[in-house]
């Protein structure tokens, strides 16, 4: 999927608030969202800002690299998941298949398991799975839950 198509899919599903911390794999979509994407200083802060936007009536999406899931866990578990504050997380999957820079390998090996451990629904998307993952994510979000869509190197053009 290309960045413009992803933007359109997100908009069609009603997402109207975008924040996060960049990753090279998310460069295209962040560029496509220029003008409305709010750069955050950290991933947990991005989730906090997104939670505030939700409380103000918006439908938020947070973009981050999987390295940011560590910072994010406290906010997911002690804010989103206990207050029923939903969020769509588009998370780039660095270290997928054990091929990446050393700093990505451990998180790459365990990030899916990490989400599973905390009961956060998630989907690792290849080229063709992204559209259906977003639809599935939207159903969880309607129930007030966070959802993590993992974006691999080959997911976005």
């Amino acid at each position: 999927m290309d960045a413009e198509t992803l933007k359109k899919r997100l908009k069609d599903l009603g997402f109207d608030f975008f924040t996060g911390v960049p990753c090279s794999l998310l460069g295209g979509i962040i560029e496509a969202l220029a003008g409305e994407y709010i750069p955050a200083v950290r991933e947990d802060t991005a989730l906090g800002v997104a939670a505030g936007a939700y409380l103000g009536g918006r439908k938020p999406c947070v973009l981050m690299q999987n390295s940011g899931l560590g910072y994010s866990l406290n906010v997911l578990t002690s804010l989103n998941m206990i207050y029923d504050i939903p969020v769509l997380m588009l998370v780039s999957f660095r270290g997928y298949g054990g091929k990446d820079a050393p700093e990505h390998l451990i998180m790459g090996r365990h990030c899916v398991e990490l989400m599973e451990t905390f009961g956060i629904r998630n989907k690792v998307c290849g080229k063709d799975g992204l559209a259906s993952a977003l639809v599935e994510a939207d159903k969880e979000i309607a129930k007030g839950k966070p959802y993590c869509v993992f974006i691999k190197e080959d997911t976005l053009e």
Binding site: P39, V41, G48, G56, L79, I82, Y83, D84
Partner: protein
């Protein structure tokens, strides 16, 4: 002035503003001073009251948003000051109650006794900065800041509360969020 008194004064001055209360005694004291649907009580996620207030201020430009933050909370998320300064929400007032300690975990000292949080806000480029010492009347400054265009930042130095602790917030978290959203 102890923190509880400062919070009671602040809560008595707000009208239809949203008030996002940091976790720990700030939420508890606000809840006990005057519970209202427009109060959002943080239970965990230390540091994030300011982020929530910022997101809310962006989403609801028609409403004033007050962040009731603490020194330990702000130290944990100091980068939010840079975001607030960059985004400049006109409807945001960030109040920091600084008791120079982590009161709800037993009063361990915080470095805010030596690091000036108002200067940090100023250094990030926030223009409207107010400082109040523990003996000063905060009401006129609060009233002025609630009227003034934001983003505003008030640092209020307070004394640590005496040992008698305020009751915990007894509303279930989803209910806190639900009624706040409808406020």
């Amino acid at each position: 002035m102890i923190m509880r008194e400062a919070i009671t004064k602040i809560i008595s001055l707000v009208g239809d503003e949203y008030v996002v209360c940091a976790n720990g005694f700030i939420s508890r004291d606000a809840f006990n001073a005057k519970d209202r649907p427009g109060n959002f009580y943080m239970l965990g996620s230390m540091g994030q009251a300011s982020s929530i207030g910022l997101g809310l201020a962006i989403a609801r430009p028609d409403k004033k948003v007050v962040i009731l933050d603490g020194d330990g909370n702000l130290l944990m998320n100091l980068g939010v000051l840079a975001m607030i300064s960059d985004i400049k929400p006109k409807n945001l007032l960030h109040i920091v109650l600084d008791n120079e300690c982590y009161d709800s975990t037993g009063g361990q000292p915080a470095i805010s006794s030596r690091v000036d949080l108002a200067r940090a806000a100023e250094g990030c480029g926030i223009k409207n900065i107010t400082r109040k010492g523990p003996g000063e009347d905060i009401v006129p400054a609060l009233m002025a800041c609630l009227r003034k265009e934001g983003p505003g930042f008030i640092l209020i130095k307070v004394e640590r509360d005496p040992s008698e602790k305020a009751a915990r917030v007894n509303i279930a978290p989803p209910e806190i969020a639900k009624r706040f959203k409808g406020a």
